[in-house]
Symmetry: C2
Subunit: 243 residues, 2 copies
């Protein structure tokens, strides 16, 4: 019996996608470097042989992920997606998936201790100084819940940056956007400022001493505190986080 021929759907992409892919490829392959200016929309339209509208749609496709930004709200510029841009898009996805605080916490348990551990190996003096400054500031604003939350988020960002690991920085981006903000409710409910500070202090000490085990251990403790705080405050540990 002759097999029925299966042609499969010939997926011809709309032009704006093709153009978008071409630009994306040119950027990723390094043909256009970060910081460089893109040709004008009219130029691109000519080069690709399509209309400006099409080019614009292609550009929008790349804009939201942060590959393209604008230098001065006029000329388009190739940018390396900042962690915030990545965080935004991943966070959207997580929100739509109704990610619970517990799920986020588990991810944080995987990444934050790792960040602490790695920071021990690669933190520069300047970065240690920034951490020290953060500790001082944290102590100062202990009473102000909003400022405290901000300092807390900053601290973890600084630790992550001290790892000099961009992949880690990007992977934990959604934590900044969703996990720590949710933590704000705990701060308002339980005022755990002192406890936060102690943990941060130990983590800082460990990083300065290059003690990977201690950094990891205290980051884990710190994360477990988060969890306990959410549970004690009855703040919906197993509820979907909200943006």
């Amino acid at each position: 019996m002759a097999q029925p021929v299966n042609f499969g759907p010939l997926a011809q992409q709309p032009a704006y996608r093709l153009v978008s892919e071409k630009i994306r490829h040119a950027i990723i392959s390094g043909e256009i470097e970060a910081g460089e200016l893109l040709p004008t929309e009219t130029d691109l339209a000519e080069q690709f042989g399509v209309t400006r509208s099409t080019v614009r749609e292609a550009i929008r496709l790349l804009e939201h992920v942060g590959i393209l930004g604008r230098a001065d709200r006029k000329r388009l510029v190739v940018t390396r997606p900042c962690t915030e841009a990545v965080g935004r898009s991943v966070s959207s996805a997580m929100l739509m998936h109704q990610v619970t605080f517990e799920e986020l916490w588990q991810v944080a348990m995987g990444l934050e201790p790792l960040a602490g551990k790695l920071a021990c190996l690669s933190a520069t003096d300047a970065e240690k100084q920034l951490l020290a400054d953060n500790l001082v500031r944290t102590r100062e604003v202990m009473a102000d819940h909003d400022a405290l939350l901000e300092a807390e988020i900053d601290f973890h960002n600084l630790v992550a940056q001290a790892t000099h690991n961009s992949a880690l920085l990007l992977a934990r981006a959604p934590l900044n956007e969703l996990f720590y903000p949710a933590w704000g409710a705990v701060i308002r409910a339980l005022s755990p400022g002192e406890r936060i500070l102690v943990a941060h202090q130990h983590i800082y000490d460990a990083i300065c001493a290059g003690d990977q085990g201690k950094a990891e251990e205290w980051m884990e403790k710190h994360m477990r505190d988060f969890r306990r705080g959410i549970e004690m405050g009855n703040l919906g540990f197993d509820q979907p986080v909200q943006g």
Copy 2:
């Protein structure tokens, strides 16, 4: 002395961004559910009081991240961004940041053992069966490098899915896109099929037995094998991965 008034730059967003944000918000807030069809472009244009072109640009803005997709290449539909879409955008970011294999490996060391551990708690029988099937297939295609790589990637995806943790699934999405493909070179160079299979087998056993420690430990061993493979093959452990 009177403080000089600081007006700050009034950031008026272009209309296509406002429209995009409105749609995004409507989606995230659940006003429009996933799977639901969006109004037609002409409708949206009328509702927002802008032109269709503007609406289209707004839509493109959301399309690349996977919030919007098309049902049948015609009607637009609200979709929850699949891990591939998220993986794509995060991967782009990582590529532009010249992420090295070592950096990715470190992230994998944070996430994959965690996935193994969590899978022990939540894997269903169906998921265990899928893992078992994967083991069989892996043994079958051991000689075919491409198929082996595919089976390898599948295995780790299955483990991750067995955690039922969407946040983890999304966070590790770029690994699928960048980390494991890079591993392909090792497979071709060293043919470590047997070694892969042994690790997978132990991980599978641990998950079936609910033995978190063993799952975590073997996943770590497995990851360390990756690292050693890259190093032994002199395949650029500290070089930027390429898409």
